[in-house]
Symmetry: none
Subunit: 401 residues, 2 copies
């Protein structure tokens, strides 16, 4: 069933506000058998109070067993089938540095490398050249011109940068030029289909120009290209849900993902508290607010259980400022689990809480993985979260007579 | 979502071992209101100990309300969409007697029948002729030759036998020749499509030859053909999951089903204890082990609650030998429920337990239908079991960046 298509047909308008509060990597694991998860160890009086009025569930962002990256995890939360709308690596990397991709764009992740006198690769990552040395080189590459297309170059980190080609007749199905081994030259860009032929030619011209500019550079005198990807074509929040949506996030990646579905990026917050300042200020101007908190994931990725606990407590502390705004629907969730014990994203379902005057409370007393198992939302896939949000906001009409 | 396609793309390799322990027809029903199911009545200290460390759920092999046969039940456990990969009746029957079907084969279930002097059917099942009389007749039919194809004939039980045609240009879309009534002759084999025309001709030649050989036989002098089916084309475990898989089963049907997905049949055990001997011996040579225990289903089919309880207790007793091998993931499940009260397969969800160091324990204390309802795996479809197994074995990469 294409649930989004159904929702698109059933959407109605009212004045309700929906807040989706995403603690990145929220779900966790006990460190010791019988011990608490990070969320269970954290003191979360405000979330627990919400749990008493709301309804919980175990959410699989993609499907049971699947560990999502940030892209699929967020697209699922936003209600888009994450398999159908897979964002190519190049497009995600461009999005991650805040580049706004358009419909004529193909984005490519690039690595600086080092070449010997014969043009063979000696180091595929240019000795992981520090960002302060690679960024100026990437910016220098903006001088490379390719006739008939616009070229954008954005530094990323260390040996990585992004190139975006903008023009007519470009498609993204081009093979990586990184040969994955040293002692051979980078591969020529090769199109996998007829529609991508021009992209491969454009890429080859860019590489030729870039090599000239990099010749003689001591730290990085070559480049390889990976993950060619056209901008994904995704219908907007307004179109699908009839929602004027705002995104509030500190990190470019999440601002970028929100932008891909047509949310407006509001404010330039640098802390969670500033994010809530932005939320308060923008409250009257939007129907839907995506608020992203990064550090639960970061400390999980670090494998730091105690610090993830502390980040969850910090996250909990801002809840009263949100409830004071009286959203019709408040959702608290994550885009995936990041248990400190695994120090990585994981496949475990994400405890998810929906609070609304129209929800059917499930009698639970705290927001936690263990209680979420018994929640009224059951186990469900991420794409059902937006339909549930809209329904509880009374923004979905009846299906059939 | 095609979850298997996703898993196929995400699979990675490591040294972990996965054991899928299948108690056929495991799920049950109380005999009296408020009473225990077979699993709840059984003393299962080892499974209950596992439940404390693992995560349970209610598994629907196919979908809610659907009672699966052994074929779809096992295919689902193995992670193959059981509707998409439906095994034709002829192919299942051949598989069930241990016949290894190849890509050029069409298998047919046949019934011996009796014909009067005019060639009209007098008994469609030849009076349910005993196996000791029908098997020699089936073996006699191996003398029938059809030019251009190989013909195999295998006895089954009573009036049933299997014929396999092997050759070029054979497809399985041929109508049954059993007219379903007496007093008329068997129908001529009729192809439903052009690709199956040759099969119908081959079948007609076989029938003509067989009738000659059977002429004058007192108990069975004719045959009808049903459930024509080409060998199913199923991608292998190695291809889909990157797993070297072993199947350990006493009965030919389950060995055959495992073989269809490319598992290697190891050992020739005749008891559960011998199956575990085989498991121990093969432990270093495979990544995945399917271990099948038949008698929970058999006693359920008999309608014998107490004996099914005893079989579950026997099943429980071998668990320590498996855990001693320290599999990364141990799954305990069934291919469907077979409540003794119904004396047949049923649609009720199968209590399913997954134990792994990477699972998120759900606080349950015993392996049972009643507790499984509250398990951390929730209610889920069979095809998600393999993705969950691979994820917990850390054999699946991240989906998207």
């Amino acid at each position: 069933m294409d649930i989004q298509a159904l929702v698109r047909d059933l959407k109605t308008q009212n004045k309700s506000k929906i807040v989706m509060l995403v603690a990145d990597g929220l779900g966790g694991l006990p460190v010791e058998p019988g011990g608490p998860t990070e969320l269970e160890a954290a003191k979360t009086p405000h979330l627990d109070a919400l749990a008493k009025h709301g309804v919980q569930g175990c959410m699989y962002p993609v499907a049971p067993g699947i560990t999502p990256g940030s892209g699929p995890g967020h697209l699922a939360l936003f209600g888009y089938d994450p398999v159908k709308h897979l964002i190519g690596r190049g497009a995600l990397e461009a999005t991650g540095v805040g580049f706004k991709l358009g419909p004529k764009d193909v984005a490519v992740r690039c690595n600086f490398c080092t070449l010997d006198a014969k043009g063979n690769i000696t180091d595929r990552r240019a000795g992981r050249i520090p960002t302060e040395e690679s960024a100026p080189l990437a910016i220098k590459l903006r001088e490379v011109k390719v006739p008939g297309v616009e070229v954008f170059v954005e530094p990323v980190k260390e040996h990585r940068f992004v190139v975006v080609f903008r023009g007519e007749g470009l498609a993204g199905n081009v093979a990586d030029t990184d040969p994955q081994v040293t002692g051979v030259p980078p591969l020529a860009p090769k199109a996998h289909d007829a529609a991508s032929k021009r992209t491969a030619e454009v890429a080859a011209q860019f590489v030729a120009g870039a090599q000239k500019l990099l010749a003689g550079q001591p730290k990085a005198n070559g480049l390889t290209m990976r993950g060619f990807a056209a901008a994904p074509v995704i219908p907007s929040y307004e179109e699908v849900y009839g929602l004027k949506a705002a995104a509030i996030a500190v990190y470019p990646m999440y601002r970028g993902l929100a932008q891909l579905v047509g949310m407006t990026i509001v404010g330039q917050p640098t802390t969670l508290s500033e994010e809530i300042d932005v939320l308060e200020k923008a409250w009257n101007d939007y129907d839907f607010f995506f608020v992203h908190f990064k550090y639960t994931d970061s400390r999980g990725e670090d494998g730091n259980f105690q610090e993830k606990v502390r980040m969850i407590e910090q996250f909990d502390s801002i809840v009263p400022r949100i409830t004071a705004l009286k959203p019709a629907v408040l959702i608290v969730t994550g885009d995936h689990s990041t248990p400190a014990r695994l120090a990585s994203h994981s496949w475990h379902p994400v405890p998810t809480l929906l609070v609304s005057e129209t929800c059917r409370p499930d009698g639970l007393t705290a927001f936690s993985e263990k209680q979420a198992i018994h929640g009224g939302l059951g186990h469900f896939q991420g794409v059902y979260l937006m339909p549930l949000a809209l329904a509880h906001a009374e923004r979905l009409g009846k299906f059939g007579a």
